[in-house]
């Protein structure tokens, strides 16, 4: 298929289902067709335009696109200067031949797990339209799950790629912190923010990660034979729904996981991630909150004002706790190469629900989605959410977590897991 035909097909697919899904907030058809014609011309000349030649993709609307105002899911960015250049992640995918066709819905300023955006509407889960797609990269997840495109990119501060990937039945990848450039991505929390892809297949995941990590793609560990696995116990076992429990067990069975280990202080790791996010997001937004707070959505405005008031001692202690955690993760990875944990405690909950009840525990819907991703975000380790499907059930996600900078091990493992 020509690149122009691929772009046209993606644009048609978006037009056909976006009214229901509210996954895409801006189409970039003219730019995409221009790029597609260049790729087709290069191919006609016998050139090789890259491993992703002519593959349309979408990006969360917090990524800079040259000439476009970076909205980050908000109206408080209206009137900002258009971006001077594409974000690095977009540039890297396009250097591999992929074609950006549009931008996707998200929680306002990426501060949430549900993509029920006050300005752009709630993104619906293509697998069950009554349910959320997860967040904050929910538009990207819904678009890939609905087969608008094969690849979309999002940002993951506390789980915002992995959570929607789990709820929509996709692979969702969080790299080692700093392992994929986040230049040109609107920040939420500088010391936690990462950029990663969402895909339906392990092959597309590998292509996207190779494009986004060009310097790491060569020479990284890819041999998955002899890897030592352990499942995270305790905090990571409750509360979970029966489907999530079965999903973790299926992945453990495929990988031959027999051992269970405890993650050091997971609840406090989550609290530290919350407080670091709060302090750093508050600093990012302080000037805008002073001058334009009425243009924020209600929920995120109050959250960010509180964030701006976070006492410095809370932040400093959270940073010191993170140092403690780094030191205690080292011995864990002396014994094991890859850890296994659920991504979310439940399948996609209804859009109109405010709470979920899991294992008899009632939890607020949004924060509940980050229960198992947020402690891991603090570690700066790479983590991949793998989809697990069961007949008659909504999909669940299972996280694989590797050592720092061993991202490609996770990508290689993904190919062996087709559930």
């Amino acid at each position: 298929m020509s690149a122009v035909a691929a772009v046209t097909e993606a644009v048609d697919a978006i037009a056909a289902s976006n009214g229901d899904l509210k996954a895409v907030t801006m189409l970039l058809e003219e730019r995409a067709l221009r790029r597609a014609r260049e790729i087709d011309a290069a191919a006609a000349r016998g050139e090789r335009p890259g491993p992703l030649a002519g593959v349309p993709f979408l990006a969360k609307n917090l990524f800079d696109v040259e000439g476009v105002v970076t909205r980050a899911g908000s109206r408080a960015t209206d009137g900002d200067a258009p971006a001077a250049a594409d974000a690095d992640a977009i540039r890297l995918l396009e250097e591999a031949g992929a074609i950006l066709v549009g931008l996707t819905n998200m929680d306002e300023f990426a501060y949430g797990f549900v993509t029920q955006n006050q300005h752009d509407g709630a993104t619906r889960n293509p697998l069950d339209l009554a349910c959320i797609a997860g967040g904050s990269s929910g538009g990207s997840a819904a678009a890939v799950a609905a087969k608008m495109v094969r690849i979309a990119i999002g940002s993951d501060t506390n789980g915002s790629v992995r959570v929607p990937a789990a709820l929509c039945g996709l692979f969702g990848f969080r790299p080692t912190f700093g392992g994929i450039s986040k230049r040109g991505a609107f920040p939420l929390a500088y010391s936690l923010d990462t950029v990663g892809p969402l895909t339906r297949t392990a092959d597309d995941l590998a292509l996207a990660v190779a494009a986004l990590r060009p310097k790491a793609a060569m020479g990284q560990r890819r041999d998955v034979k002899g890897l030592r696995f352990a499942r995270l116990g305790g905090y990571f076992e409750h509360p979970v729904t029966p489907a999530v429990r079965r999903g973790v067990e299926r992945v453990c069975a495929v990988l031959g996981v027999t051992e269970t280990v405890e993650f050091p202080e997971p609840q406090r790791a989550r609290e530290a991630a919350f407080l670091i996010t709060s302090a750093e997001a508050g600093e990012t937004h302080l000037a805008r909150l002073r001058s334009r707070s009425d243009e924020y959505g209600d929920v995120v405005r109050e959250r960010l004002i509180a964030a701006a008031l976070t006492p410095s001692a809370w932040y400093a202690h959270a940073l010191r706790f993170r140092t403690w955690l780094f030191a205690h993760l080292g011995p864990l990875f002396d014994r094991y190469d890859v850890l296994v944990a659920p991504t979310t405690p439940c399948e996609a909950p209804p859009i109109d629900a405010t709470h979920v009840t899991i294992d008899g525990v009632e939890l607020e819907k949004g924060p509940a989605m980050g229960t198992f991703t947020q402690p891991l975000a603090l570690t700066q380790l790479p983590a991949l959410s793998v989809p697990v499907f069961s007949q008659g059930e909504k999909p669940v996600g299972v996280q694989l977590i590797a050592r720092w900078n061993e991202d490609e091990t996770l990508v290689a493992l993904a190919k062996g897991i087709a559930l």
Binding site: T176, F177, G178, G179, E265, Q267, R268, E271, A272, F274, L275, S278, L286, L289, R290, S293, D298, R301, E302, R303, I305, A306, A308, L309, T310, P311, S312, A313, W314, A316, H317, A318, L319, R320, F321, R322, T323, W324, F326, A327, L329, G330, Q380, L381, W404, N405
Partner: protein, 64 residues
């Protein structure tokens, strides 16, 4: 620094810090912000109870 989960401790902190930072708070908004801060304070209380020694130096760098 605001401490403990008691809203009566949090509210004056929110008021004074908002003034210091020049962030506008009407009455309704103040209530919502106090609610968020109270939740953060509960997390901070639990985290601050975790003993750390001088070796836990955040400038020592991340393993990645």
């Amino acid at each position: 620094m605001a401490s403990a989960m008691d809203e009566s401790n949090i509210r004056p902190y929110v008021r004074s810090t908002a003034t210091l930072l020049n962030v506008a708070l009407d009455v309704g908004r103040e209530n919502a912000v106090v609610a968020v801060m109270t939740r953060l304070a509960a997390m901070a209380d639990h985290l601050l109870a975790f003993p750390l020694d001088a070796d836990e130096d955040p400038t020592s760098g991340a393993p990645a």
